[in-house]
Symmetry: C2
Subunit: 334 residues, 2 copies
């Protein structure tokens, strides 16, 4: 786990805290699967599909409605609002840097961005399409999409497979590099404040990085039980255990309350917090996590330092151009 | 009304149809009111506010949700969907080239883009904020907006007045020049097909341009009764007269069924049609308009020619960059 290829690793090792953590810089490119190499035409098509509300039954909800690319990649709501004002029980995870998750959704039930993209479109409380056949018929009725799919995949190409591949290819471009932390980890000691460095070392000392590991602080592919320790004082307030996590999908008791480890990147932008969005502020989220996962009561100063560090994980958001969405002939919405 | 400063006027005068119509090219800049000159900082702030769903009670509906800048400036729905899945009775007018309307809304009740922008935010079935005080409190809670307002207006500037001015300044940049029609009207006779030219002359001959006049084909400032002629055959199907138009606001019987003349620019992109969005296709819309406003039964060929011309009114959409929306501290949405 120890890497010696960055200044920061040495700093951490030399600190009074005897913890060795690899402080990795966020890559500027995300790996793509063998069967879906990233191409400019796919990215452009994916950008269109991702922002097109006509992928929902009512024509009002796009991927970006809940995973808002103009914000921190989600909607700042405890739970998202799908078609006809319906809400679910979970808080939308951020799309920014989701390319660095090995599994997707809070319960990790999707193994790729491609698999994730297929889900919400036909979820009755999210985008509400009956099935992907209906989506394909609608996309085929829009001439501009026929052309964009042909450009990206060649031929008569509109399908669930190609649509989700294009969306995933676009999502792989949503990376926020050059946070103060990344600059610091690359050797620029002036990039973080003393308080942020204290917070970083505290995060390592406490063991947060045992799970929130790797360049995206998301323990790629890791599932963890939440909450681990006594939930008494928070259960009445935040109802964390109502959601069974992975067991909601697998129905196995051993999977109860298992969740994918979420990224800490840009976390200062993605309130409210936790799988159910029950906690409104980052200070409270840090306090709750330390208690429930590590059985530690943090001091106010420790919390402030850690929150300062978490703010150093806000990256640079590459300028995004708006897609032009091709015209609908007539309308199918009532 | 006759202008001799374009090739096209001469063409129209020389045609077999003895109708003189000024065929004006769309300006590339919109006039701004004396008290709200357009500045880059205002436009950038307006771009943010326009696309920010946090201007709605639920955090899910922005101006762009219904007047979608990525589409033809509206939502392709018969009526729009506001907070909590609520719908109203009218179809969202396009925001593209709205700067060239002298009045706004279907009933023309707002005299400026600034006045229009204030309305939907506090409409209970649209964006659902209690009042503008609540909007100002929310914007003030977002540090990035404090800065953006100060950049645009100086000082401690967040108010209903400045927010609506910024949105209007941004909207004045949403212009789609260089349609095939504009190129033709500028002297490029190859820019429209023969069929489109036939359709254009038919539009003049029928008298459509009596109301749909001016460079935006929106008879700027003009109100017209709709429908004028017997509505029998269409009333059962489209329920046009249910909506009293301007009289819904003024409560005067003389204002019943008066509507602002809407633009024909980009009309091929903005199905469905009419104030209540009852008509799904442009062909049917042309047929219905000729019958109800001019008491004329168009042939199939005439309709096809006119629709071809209307397609020549689709302009070039300037590339739009996505705004970065500043972060919410915690959250206020439930």
């Amino acid at each position: 786990m120890i890497k010696f290829n960055s200044l920061l690793t040495a700093v951490a090792l030399a600190s009074s805290v005897s913890v060795a953590v690899a402080w990795d810089v966020l890559p500027t490119e995300a790996p793509a699967p063998m069967d879906n190499p990233t191409t400019p035409a796919k990215v452009e098509l994916g950008r269109m599909l991702y922002h097109d509300p006509r992928l929902s039954s009512t024509g009002t909800v796009s991927c970006s409605s809940c995973h808002n690319t103009m914000l921190g990649g989600e909607d700042n709501r405890p739970n998202s609002m799908g078609v006809n004002g319906q809400t679910g029980g979970r808080s939308a995870p951020t799309v920014w840097n989701a390319a660095f998750n090995k599994v997707q959704f809070w319960d990790g039930r999707a193994e790729s961005l491609e698999a994730q993209a297929a889900g919400p479109v036909t979820n009755p409380i999210e985008m509400g399409m009956k099935n992907w056949d209906e989506v394909v018929v609608r996309l085929n009725s829009i001439e501009g999409y026929q052309k964009a799919f042909a450009d990206a995949f060649g031929g008569n190409a509109i399908s669930k497979d190609t649509a989700t591949k294009a969306i995933a290819a676009y999502e792989r471009t949503l990376i926020t590099p050059n946070s103060p932390y990344d600059k610091y980890a690359s050797g620029d000691q002036s990039a973080m404040t003393d308080q942020q460095v204290r917070g970083m070392n505290k995060v390592a000392e406490l063991g947060c990085t045992g799970c929130h590991s790797g360049p995206a602080f998301n323990g790629p592919g890791m599932f963890q039980k939440f909450p681990v320790h006594g939930n008494g004082m928070y259960q009445a307030k935040y109802h964390f255990t109502k959601d069974l996590g992975l067991a909601e999908v697998t129905k196995k008791s051993g999977d109860e309350h298992l969740f994918k480890v979420p990224t800490l990147r840009n976390i200062a932008l993605t309130a409210p917090y936790f799988h159910n969005g029950a906690v409104k502020t980052l200070d409270e989220a840090v306090k709750v996590m330390a208690k429930l996962q590590l059985d530690k009561d943090l001091s106010k100063d420790e919390i402030t330092d850690i929150v300062a560090f978490l703010n150093a994980l806000t990256g640079e958001f590459p300028e995004q151009k708006m897609p032009r969405l091709p015209a609908t002939p007539g309308t199918t919405f009532n």
